[in-house]
C-alpha cells in the first residue's frame, strides 16, 4: 500500500518507539520567540541541562514588539524585559537571533520561510500553534507547548503519538476575487473547529497545486483553526522555485540532490487516509466570520444562520449580531491587514491593487503591518507604500501586532475589526474587541467603504495580482 506525504516525512524522523506508547520524533528545525521560550530556558538552567543543538534553533522577536518607532526603547517594561530575556538566552546558548531591527526580523512564520530555512521533508516545531504554516512546503510543522520547547532544547526530539491522516481535496477553478484565505475559511466553516483534532491534514487538488507559496502558507496556517495540529501540501516546482536561491537554501549540486529527494515525498497513488473531504472550487466565495470561532464563517453574500445552541447564541450576543441578518453595510471602524496568515508580499499586492486610486474611509483606522522587514522592503520597492499613503493609509513596522494585541495595537472595547488574521475569539484583538476574519481583498474593500461591502458584486471587474 502506498504512503502519504505525512507518513513519509514522519517515518523518516522516528528515532525510537516506546512500547505501547509514543514515538521519539527527531526535529530538524526549532523556531523560538520571546513569549513561549523563557520558561523553557529557565527549566533547562534549573536542571543543569545544556541546549543540545543550538545551530538547529532560529529565534526572532515578534509577538510582543511595537509596530511604530522600533528604533526607540520599548516603553512597556514587561515587554522590554521579555525581549531582553530572549536576547540574553540566545547569546548564552549560541542561538541565532533575528532581533528587533535586524534586516531579517519579522513574524516567525513569515521570516523563516523567506530565508529558505523551511524546506520540504523537514520536521519543524515552534511554541506557537500557527507553526502549521510551514506545512505549505511539505514539512511536518506544528505548534508545541513550553514544556515541549524545553524537551527539544534538551534532546532535539519530542515524544509524540502519530496523528491520524486527513485529506481535504479542492478541485476546480477559483472565481476571481476568491483568495487562499477564503478557501481555508470556507473549509473550516464546512468542517467545524474540531474536525481536524487528532489529525494531520493534507490539502490536495487543483486549487492548491495552482496556488503560490504565499497562498499555500495562508491555507496551512489556519489548519489549527479546525483543530488539526498541522497541514501539508505536496512539494512541487512552485515549492522548489520558491526555496531556490534563498539565504539558507541548499546551493548547487546539494540543491539538486535535495530536489530529487523532495520529488519522492508526495502521497503515493492509492495511499489511504483515515478521513477525506472533497469540495468544489466553484462553490467558494469571499468569506467573512460572524462569530467567536473561525468555524463561524459565511460567504459574504449570505446571512448569519439560525441555531438554538447556547454557545452559538452567546457568541452572537458578544458580536452584537442577530441570527438571520446580513453583514453587508455593517459600519466598520477598524481594519487590520497583517499576521502570520496574511502579511506576505502577495497580500499587500492584493490590497494595493484594490486601494490604488481610492481613498480610505474617514471613519476607518487601518493598520497595515508587514510580516517581516523583507516584506516591508519589498512593499517600498514595488511602490505599494506610496499607493497606501496616497490613499490615506499608514504602513507600520513588522510584528504580530493586532492579531493577538500583546503590544499596543489593540482594537477598542466594542469595536468591530475586519481582520486578515486567524482568530476571532472573544477579546483576541483587545478586551471587548469584535473580530471579523476576512481576506486582504475584503479587508481593503472594507477600509475604503467604511463598511462591509459585497466584493462579489465587483468580482468581474476586479483586477488583481
Amino acid at each position: 500500500m502506498g504512503k502519504t506525504l505525512f507518513d513519509k516525512v514522519w517515518d523518516a524522523h522516528v528515532v525510537d518507539s516506546v512500547q505501547n506508547g509514543p514515538q521519539v520524533l527527531y526535529i530538524d528545525k526549532h523556531l523560538i520567540h520571546e513569549v513561549t521560550s523563557p520558561q523553557a530556558f529557565n527549566e533547562l538552567e534549573d536542571r543543569g541541562i545544556h541546549v543540545f543543538r543550538p545551530n538547529q534553533i532560529v529565534a526572532t522577536a515578534d509577538h510582543n514588539t511595537p509596530t511604530l518607532n522600533q528604533d526607540l526603547p520599548i516603553k512597556d517594561e514587561l515587554s522590554r524585559k521579555q525581549l531582553e530575556q530572549l536576547s540574553e538566552n540566545c547569546a548564552k546558548n549560541n542561538i541565532t537571533l533575528y532581533e528587533l531591527g535586524h534586516k531579517y526580523n519579522g513574524i516567525v512564520h513569515v521570516m523563516v520561510p523567506e530565508l529558505g530555512i523551511t524546506q520540504p521533508g523537514m520536521t519543524m516545531v515552534c511554541g506557537d500553534s500557527h507553526t502549521s504554516t510551514h506545512g505549505a512546503f511539505g514539512t511536518i510543522a506544528f505548534g508545541i507547548g513550553t514544556s515541549q520547547v524545553a524537551q527539544v532544547f534538551a534532546s532535539q526530539c519530542l515524544l509524540l503519538s502519530k496523528p491520524k491522516s486527513l485529506r481535504v481535496t479542492v478541485n476546480g477553478k477559483l472565481k476571481n476575487g476568491v483568495l487562499p484565505k477564503d478557501v481555508i475559511l470556507y473549509i473550516i466553516s464546512k468542517l467545524g473547529t474540531n474536525s481536524g483534532t487528532g489529525y494531520f491534514c493534507e490539502y490536495a487538488g487543483d486549487v492548491f497545486e495552482n496556488m503560490s507559496m504565499e497562498g499555500r502558507m495562508t491555507v496551512c496556517n489556519m489548519s489549527i483553526e479546525m483543530g488539526a495540529r498541522g497541514g501539508m501540501i505536496a512539494p512541487d516546482e512552485t515549492t522548489f522555485n520558491y526555496v531556490k536561491g534563498r539565504e539558507f537554501a541548499p546551493k548547487g549540486d546539494e540543491f539538486d540532490k535535495k530536489v530529487a529527494y523532495w520529488k519522492t515525498l508526495p502521497t503515493d497513488e492509492g495511499a489511504a487516509f483515515n478521513q477525506e473531504y472533497f469540495f468544489d472550487a466553484e462553490d467558494i466565495e469571499p468569506m467573512v466570520t460572524y462569530g467567536t470561532n473561525p468555524g463561524m464563517g459565511i460567504k459574504i453574500s449570505e446571512s448569519i444562520p439560525m441555531d438554538d445552541n447556547a454557545s452559538f447564541k452567546k457568541s452572537l450576543e458578544y458580536m452584537n449580531f442577530e441570527a438571520g441578518e446580513s453583514l453587508i453595510n455593517k459600519p466598520i471602524n477598524y481594519v487590520f491587514i497583517g499576521s502570520c496568515t496574511n502579511s506576505r508580499i502577495e497580500d499587500f499586492r492584493v490590497a494595493a491593487g484594490f486601494i490604488k486610486g481610492k481613498q480610505k474611509a474617514n471613519n476607518v483606522t487601518a493598520w497595515l503591518v508587514p510580516g517581516s522587514k523583507q516584506v516591508e522592503a519589498q512593499i517600498i520597492k514595488e511602490g505599494l507604500k506610496t499607493i497606501f499613503e496616497d490613499a490615506g493609509f499608514q504602513l507600520r513596522q513588522p510584528g504580530c501586532s493586532a492579531c493577538l494585541a500583546m503590544n499596543d495595537d489593540k482594537i477598542p472595547q466594542g469595536e468591530y475589526c475586519v481582520s486578515t488574521s486567524n482568530r476571532n475569539f472573544e477579546g483576541r484583538q483587545g478586551q471587548g474587541s469584535r473580530t471579523i476574519l476576512a481576506s486582504p481583498l475584503v479587508a481593503a474593500a472594507t477600509a475604503v467603504a467604511g463598511k462591509i461591502v459585497d466584493v462579489t458584486k465587483d468580482i468581474e471587474t476586479l483586477e488583481l495580482a
Binding site: Y26, P38, Q85, D128, S147, L404, A405
Partner: protein, 194 residues
C-alpha cells in the same frame, strides 16, 4: 511534576463549548518570564466585567460551586498553544478538567503539568453538568489507575495514553526520558538519510 493518582472533589461547571486558550488566559498576561501568578488571571475577562468588578454570574465566582475539578463543554482548550493556559488552571487550583473533547495541544500541555484531562461521553458530560448545577455538593471521584470518573451511582471509564499515565502517576516528565535516549538520538543524526 506533581504526581496524580486519585482525586475526590466537588466540581465547578463551565457549560460553554469551544473554550479557547485566549479565554483561559488572555494574551495581555503572557509577558511574564516565569510560570508564577497566572492563576490570578485565569478566565480573566469572564470572571471580571468591563469595569473590573467581579462578574457574579460566572460559575467560578458563584459561591455555591467549589472544588479542583472543572467540567467544561465540548472542544476545551482550542486555539493558541500557550502553555500559560495550563499554568493558569493549575495556579487557580484545578487538578482535573472534564470535557467531551479536548484540543490536541492543550491536552499535551495539561499532561505535562500534572493537570489531568478526562474525556467523557457527551451523555456523561451532560449528566455531570446537570448534577453539579442541581446538587453542587456532589463529590466526583477521578481514579487514574482505574481510569474511571464516578459520582453518586454513575461511573464512566476514560482513555489515556499508557506512557502518559505512568508519567502522571509517578510525576515523571518527558525530558528525563528523552535524555536517557541521547545515544540513540546521536546515532540517528549520524545515519539519517533525508
Amino acid at each position: 511534576m506533581e504526581k496524580f493518582t486519585t482525586l475526590t472533589s466537588r466540581a465547578i461547571p463551565l457549560d460553554i463549548e469551544n473554550v479557547d486558550t485566549d479565554q483561559i488566559i488572555p494574551a495581555r498576561f503572557l509577558k511574564a518570564t516565569d510560570k508564577k501568578g497566572f492563576g490570578d488571571n485565569v478566565f480573566r475577562d469572564w470572571r471580571f466585567n468591563k469595569a473590573g468588578e467581579l462578574n457574579i454570574d460566572f460559575s467560578l465566582n458563584n459561591q455555591k460551586y467549589s472544588g479542583s475539578i472543572l467540567v467544561a463543554g465540548d472542544n476545551f482548550g482550542c486555539g493558541s498553544s500557550r502553555e500559560h493556559a495550563a499554568w493558569a488552571l493549575v495556579g487557580y487550583g484545578f487538578r482535573v478538567i472534564v470535557s467531551s473533547f479536548f484540543a490536541d495541544i492543550f491536552k499535551g500541555n495539561a499532561l505535562n503539568n500534572g493537570l489531568l484531562p478526562v474525556q467523557v461521553s457527551e451523555g456523561f458530560l451532560k449528566t455531570l453538568l446537570e448534577t453539579i448545577k442541581t446538587v453542587p455538593e456532589t463529590q466526583i471521584e477521578v481514579n487514574l489507575e482505574a481510569q474511571t470518573i464516578s459520582m453518586s451511582n454513575k461511573s464512566e471509564s476514560f482513555d489515556i495514553d499508557s506512557y502518559k499515565k505512568t508519567c502522571m502517576i509517578n510525576g515523571y516528565d518527558d525530558i528525563d526520558y528523552l535524555l536517557s535516549k541521547k545515544e540513540q538520538i546521536e546515532a540517528f543524526e549520524a545515519e539519517k538519510t533525508y
